[in-house]
Symmetry: D2
Subunit: 261 residues, 4 copies
């Protein structure tokens, strides 16, 4: 079964910075989409901030198995309604791969329930990515460590919930460390955060980085049917209880009444 991937990019730096445009003439989304096609994904779409509903309408999301997210400068411009739609799809089972500055994106913060803050420095220093979970599917085909010649530094503490798995940790030339590959589940949705990808450097041309993104998409895919009632809180009436019981005692809810939210 083909995995339907959608790469979302705010696509702002590419239009405002000559430097970024030269690095990514087709946008970061374009570079990532091309790389995914090269990694054997057959069904890859892109969406950007400036599109209606940011290119994330109901139909687009319903047709997305895994969403890749890159945002930075314009987190605040993403509409809350779209964020809720994305989040609900994750709960239902859509995979989510959040890249780099996406740590502060609305959907990621919403799903983590924590600040998702960190330290940073833009100095073009070496980032060395270490695989700490070599048997993990996201590490497939990667060396035990690889260097990115120039990257922005992100430093701990990274205020996210304790992850399900720590896959990568980065070492920085300037002396910091960062948990750069982490996984979580929310509802039926698998979430992978991957650190590298500052827009001022050619990170998304690095074969190791692109392989991690591709592996992450594959890992985040949940082939199960959508958990469509994940937000429902159904009443189970007495006569539908799996074991026969008789109602007794006081009652505040009227028969058939919904619960409170």
């Amino acid at each position: 079964m083909s995995i339907r991937v959608r790469v979302w990019n705010e696509n702002v730096h590419e239009r405002t910075s000559e430097l970024v445009r030269e690095l990514y003439p087709d946008g970061i989304h374009g570079a990532l989409a091309a790389a995914l096609l090269g990694h054997g994904f057959a069904d890859v779409e892109t969406s950007t901030l400036e599109q209606p509903e940011h290119g994330l309408g109901e139909a687009a999301l319903a047709a997305t198995d895994v969403l890749v997210w890159w945002g930075h400068k314009a987190h605040g411009d993403v509409s809350d309604a779209v964020v809720e739609r994305v989040v609900k799809r994750v709960w239902e089972g859509m995979g989510l791969v959040v890249l780099h500055s996406g740590h502060f994106s609305k959907p990621f913060k919403r799903l983590m329930g924590s600040p998702c803050a960190l330290k940073w420095r833009e100095a073009g220093e070496v980032e060395r990515v270490w695989t700490v979970n070599p048997g993990h599917p996201i590490a497939e085909g990667l060396p035990r460590h690889f260097d990115i010649a120039q990257e922005e530094m992100y430093g701990e503490p990274f205020s996210v919930p304790e992850p399900m798995e720590t896959v990568f940790i980065s070492w920085f030339e300037g002396g910091e460390v960062f948990r750069s590959g982490l996984t979580w589940r929310r509802g039926a949705g698998k979430i992978f955060y991957f650190r590298p990808g500052h827009e001022a450097y050619p990170t998304y041309r690095d074969p190791n980085v692109l392989r991690v993104v591709a592996n992450g998409v594959r890992w985040a895919h949940n082939p199960a049917p959508a958990w469509s009632d994940v937000t429902a809180a159904p009443n189970v009436p007495v006569d539908k209880a799996p074991s026969k019981i008789v109602a007794k005692g006081a009652s505040l809810h009227k028969p058939g009444e919904g619960g409170f939210r």
Copy 2:
């Protein structure tokens, strides 16, 4: 050091239902506060929905080590600004004990990043609470299982993130099960959810239930100083890097400029 506890209650059922008022003449908050005093806590305050800022102003929260939360009918009436304040205090280290229908409270949903939905039935059936983690501080002094003669049923799936620890699981007469005691951390804050406590029954007069609440408060207390910069994302300039580096390559951020949110 004395733990400063605050019990928050929406205090709506107590004013609108004769039944609930008879069960809890001092309100659910009053019953819980009295029980905590009886369990040796010396510093217990209460706050309710109808108070200014719901009794959760900056000063009140700053003076709270552990917040206990009971809400049901009026989740939607809790102001978003207050919710953000509560959530930030949890990230900084305030403990949070969420009771029963508080699974759908705004602060809990916000911290979980998931729907927090479940099944339910109000039939006054037996709930049997099983300790699955007998050495856990929250289980201290409790029997391996205890019955609550009449309770509302909550059934799985309970759509919360995989917990740090599962402390209790409930068996219901009507045939369902529920993970009724779960823990998480968000930032420096410890969170405990405990299921029992439907307002139509005298659950908060049950010594076992009250002991769990008291244990939960004690466990959730983080004596560390507040992690006050938990939401900050500071820049670390090149000359402050722990290991000496020289900036190289392109740069998009101007010196001293803040990061994007």
Copy 3:
């Protein structure tokens, strides 16, 4: 790629009890292997205790992607050398599906590092299995709950390490609960424990139970190449350090000397 499955069974009850022989004329291993073939697995082998090396020699294990384990009466007869071999293969990436009384099998206890104890009762009572993680691949195609008309009871506390994921919880007619579907990782190996399967009842003819086993095998499969040096503790000499350093200070290890174990 075809998943190479091996079903291990101690195969003792089948030879000593008329009752069990009638339920499983081809042995529990035979019943499980047939079911897996029926679920689309093409490459299914079986091994039993009485075979040389219990049918788990180096070659057999090297050709196994996922091992299913059923044992009960003869846990103590499994050779420690074979146990270490199985455990090492799990660390390298072989999946392990442990069934029912296998909670006390040597490989499972060895991988958990905990007692793996529980309560039990053989009374032919109803077990109701609840899905608590509906989007999980192991729950694929299963109803939200299903009954097994007659089963042995296992009750909490189940003294295993906190799992990676809780997939199923069982409700028992006699009043107990049990976390009946749990996952862990050890090294590159994925481990799934599934509770039902007492030899005195036709549990492994139940389509829901067999589907869980099949799903579990599929989930436990790690397609990555074996993490063959998972137990190695290599020295990284100074001249091979990823960043250039100069050795300084005292030293106790001689160049080229191995570490201590």
Copy 4:
């Protein structure tokens, strides 16, 4: 209530190496015990390998709330019977703080169920320890990062089970990273692994390191009564079932017969 701490040390390097003897004239155990007394612990004992039962007889362990473990050269000389005794006490609730080369000690490997392997280099390089979980009790009073001027390098992958919490991560001058502060639970016992402490350097004179050890001991203490039946697998007869049932169907166990192990 006073925490009864016992520091175990193999005490071999101190007797065979002039260098180590000069660093730790009272042994590593002596240095750690003195530091713990200085951190306010009133009840600190030491035990060493050469003592009868390695100083870890039944009575000694029964009187120990938290055990600190340092071993390296002589892991293999620790008797398996003593290891099982230590492990059982951890399951019952004794805390365990494992230091540095203790990653390959028998009790730690036994409790982890995984290889506990890593990379290493003895080059006297800088280790920078980063706090990734600043609100955690084990990080109390520590700076966000601190340097150890000379240490042995340990590098990832560290083949331990995914921890409950990651408290510290180390950066090494030579380019590696390591999760240097990790926690787990096994049964009722809390386990903390802390990386620094190579015998060739004065690491256990470093105030930050000693504070982490002291915090770790405090954190690992479980004040609950021992979970003394943690390894028991009791039968619950039909007439003792919490909910009334009638036995039905076949049975293989005779009444009163124990389960199989």
